[in-house]
Symmetry: C2
Subunit: 124 residues, 2 copies
C-alpha cells in the first residue's frame, strides 16, 4: 500500500502535478528548466523531484553540473490500468497545463541559446 500512497501523495501537489505533466510531454527536462517553469527556488524543485523520484514517477540522470529528469512510463502500468493515462485524460486540455507547455517551449529555446544544460531533447 505504501508504494500506492507514495504515488497519490506525489501527485497531490499542484507543482508536482505540473512537473509530471511537463515530463509526460517533453522527453526530458533539466532541473533548471523545471525551476524556471514553476517559478520557485532551486531547493524546492530539488525536494519535489526527490518526492516524485521516490514514488517511481520520474528518474533523474546527472550530466556534469546538470540533472535531467524523465517520466517513468512503464512502472505505473498495471494490467492495462495506468495512472498516466488517467492523469493525461483529465489534464491534457487543462488551461494551466497548456500554458505550461507553451512557456516550456520558450524556456527550452532560451536554454539552447545560452548554451547551458543542452542535452538531446524532443517534445511530443
Amino acid at each position: 500500500m505504501i508504494p500506492t500512497l507514495a504515488i497519490t501523495n506525489a501527485l497531490s501537489d499542484r507543482n508536482r502535478l505540473r512537473t509530471f505533466m511537463a515530463l509526460l510531454t517533453f522527453d526530458e527536462l533539466c532541473v533548471c528548466e523545471i525551476t524556471e517553469l514553476l517559478k520557485i527556488k532551486p531547493p524546492t524543485t530539488s525536494r519535489h523531484m526527490t518526492i516524485l523520484s521516490a514514488a517511481g514517477l520520474v528518474q533523474g540522470r546527472k550530466e556534469g553540473r546538470w540533472v535531467y529528469y524523465r517520466a517513468c512510463r512503464e512502472v505505473n502500468q498495471e494490467d492495462g490500468a495506468s495512472i498516466i493515462a488517467w492523469i493525461q485524460s483529465r489534464l491534457a486540455t487543462d488551461p494551466e497545463i497548456i500554458a505550461d507547455k507553451s512557456r516550456l517551449h520558450h524556456i527550452i529555446q532560451a536554454t539552447k541559446t545560452r548554451k547551458t544544460c543542452t542535452p538531446q531533447r524532443s517534445a511530443s
Copy 2:
C-alpha cells in the same frame, strides 16, 4: 486542475484509501461500519467522508440516523482511463486491504445481528 488534485489528495491518506477500496468491494457501507473498520472516532470518519465526497469519489445518503456511502464508479472514468481500475489493480492483493475485507464481513454480520443500520447490502 483543482478537481484532479481533489482526487489525488483524497486518495493520499491511508485511511481514505482503505475506505475507498472497501466501498469498491461492498456496495454500500454505513459510517458506523467504516468507523469500526478504521478504528478511529466518528468525527474523524465524518471528515474523511466529506473529503472523499467533495472529490466526487463517494456519495452519501441519509436514512434516519444513519448515513450510508457508495463509491461513485462512473465519474472517475475518462476515455477509458480509470483511477478506480488503477487503484484496484494495485491494491486488490494488498495484505491490509484483504484483511480489511475479511474484517468487514464480520462487522457487517455484527450490525445485522444488532439490528442497527441494516440497509439492503451486497458484496462483490
